[in-house]
């Protein structure tokens, strides 16, 4: 056995996972190798030193002192953490969906062109086509209704609405980060 292998077995010995067969191999190696023998004896001593190391105990009045300090704090625990966790998930999912939706709608032509160019998504695009048509019709209908409702402001509606949505997505993302940070920070 090589010294490198013996060294690896010594680590297993330190982990107390060395099998009997490997222990026998290690034993026969260190009998003929003074360097590994010295190494093994030092490791063994380190292990024993750890085992016999003084057990440290906290002072007797430790708990009383800390409890007194805690009582003096007059600490009010924040209400519900379950609510925080749920809000964290809601804001996270919302910001991701909204963000992705916005990106997809802004760059839909590029995305569709790319998918079409690869040729591997033909079937997918064909399946999607009727849905896209339906969505387009639906969006058109909504836009028409909206335009007729806000007749004079129609020119401003689209960019304003998009900007508001972007701001909202960013705010949702920030909200998610805040909840996540509050939860993890100690």
């Amino acid at each position: 056995m090589e010294c490198e292998k013996a060294s690896a077995l010594m680590m297993q010995y330190m982990d107390k996972t060395l099998s009997e067969a490997d222990a026998a191999k290690l034993n026969s190696h260190i009998k003929g190798c003074p360097v590994c023998k010295e190494e093994f004896m030092v490791y063994d001593k380190i292990l024993r030193e750890f085992e016999t190391m003084e057990v440290i105990s906290a002072p007797d009045d430790f708990c009383d002192t800390v409890m007194e300090k805690i009582r003096a704090l007059d600490f009010k625990r924040p209400a519900s953490t379950v609510k925080d966790s749920m809000l964290c998930v809601i804001w996270g999912v919302f910001s991701v969906l909204l963000g992705l939706g916005l990106l997809a709608s802004m760059y839909k032509d590029t995305v569709i062109e790319y998918l079409a160019s690869t040729g591997r998504f033909d079937l997918f695009l064909k399946t999607l086509a009727p849905v896209t048509e339906y969505v387009n019709l639906f969006t058109e209908g909504l836009t028409n209704t909206f335009t007729s409702l806000s007749s004079g402001l129609s020119a401003l509606v689209s960019p304003v609405r998009l900007t508001l949505l972007v701001i909202f997505a960013v705010l949702a993302g920030i909200q998610y980060v805040i909840y996540k940070k509050n939860k993890a920070e100690i």
Binding site: E38, V42, Y43, E49, F50, M53, F62, M67, R71, T81
Partner: protein
């Protein structure tokens, strides 16, 4: 009927402490005070400082009890807070430390044979060799060999992958071995 708190699980005790009575916290402290104190003392090597830090750790733990989720064992969570707290404390202390030119040196009187013996014993002990190790090696090896934590638990505490934890413990053992051999302490160990 009074509750026998010694049989209540850590998680239930935490819930009781949050929702019923803060005094249940002393039972949690009773369970982990020695572990926390011992980890801190091995990191700072000063009993008074360790006592102050351990108290601060438990106050911090009390304030953040509602943030504990049983995805980890409570001992893992509390040791993570402990090691982070001591590392922060060290960092702050380093920043506030007195410039070297302002330190007043005290000339030591001649050592008595008894003091010499004590110093020699201390210098040869594994404690003094451990003290010389950087935190990144000292914390995992103490938690593994002295506190009996598993590689996985240490990985959860220091938030590093299992492979890194194993590697650091292997390196720490090798560093201890090298310092024993190179400083001639080997003779003291009979090797």
């Amino acid at each position: 009927m009074p509750v026998d708190v010694s049989k209540v699980s850590d998680f239930d005790l935490i819930q009781m402490c949050i929702n019923e009575d803060m005094n249940y916290f002393s039972e949690l402290m009773r369970r982990y005070k020695n572990l926390v104190f011992s980890v801190i003392l091995r990191m700072v090597n000063d009993k008074e400082e360790a006592n102050d830090l351990a108290q601060e750790v438990f106050i911090k733990v009390y304030k953040n009890l509602h943030k504990y989720y049983p995805e980890f064992k409570f001992s893992t969570w509390i040791i993570r807070i402990t090691t982070n707290h001591v590392i922060d404390f060290r960092r702050k202390k380093k920043q506030e430390s007195v410039p070297i030119e302002d330190v007043e040196y005290e000339l030591s009187s001649e050592e008595s044979p008894e003091a010499q013996y004590i110093r020699k014993e201390r210098d040869h002990s594994i404690n003094s060799l451990l003290e010389a190790l950087p935190d990144m090696y000292k914390i995992p090896i103490v938690l593994y060999h002295k506190e009996g934590l598993s590689y996985q638990e240490i990985s959860d505490i220091i938030k590093e992958p299992l492979s890194k934890v194993k590697n650091r413990i292997f390196r720490a053992r090798k560093m201890l071995k090298e310092s024993i051999i190179n400083t001639g302490v080997g003779e003291y160990y009979g090797v």
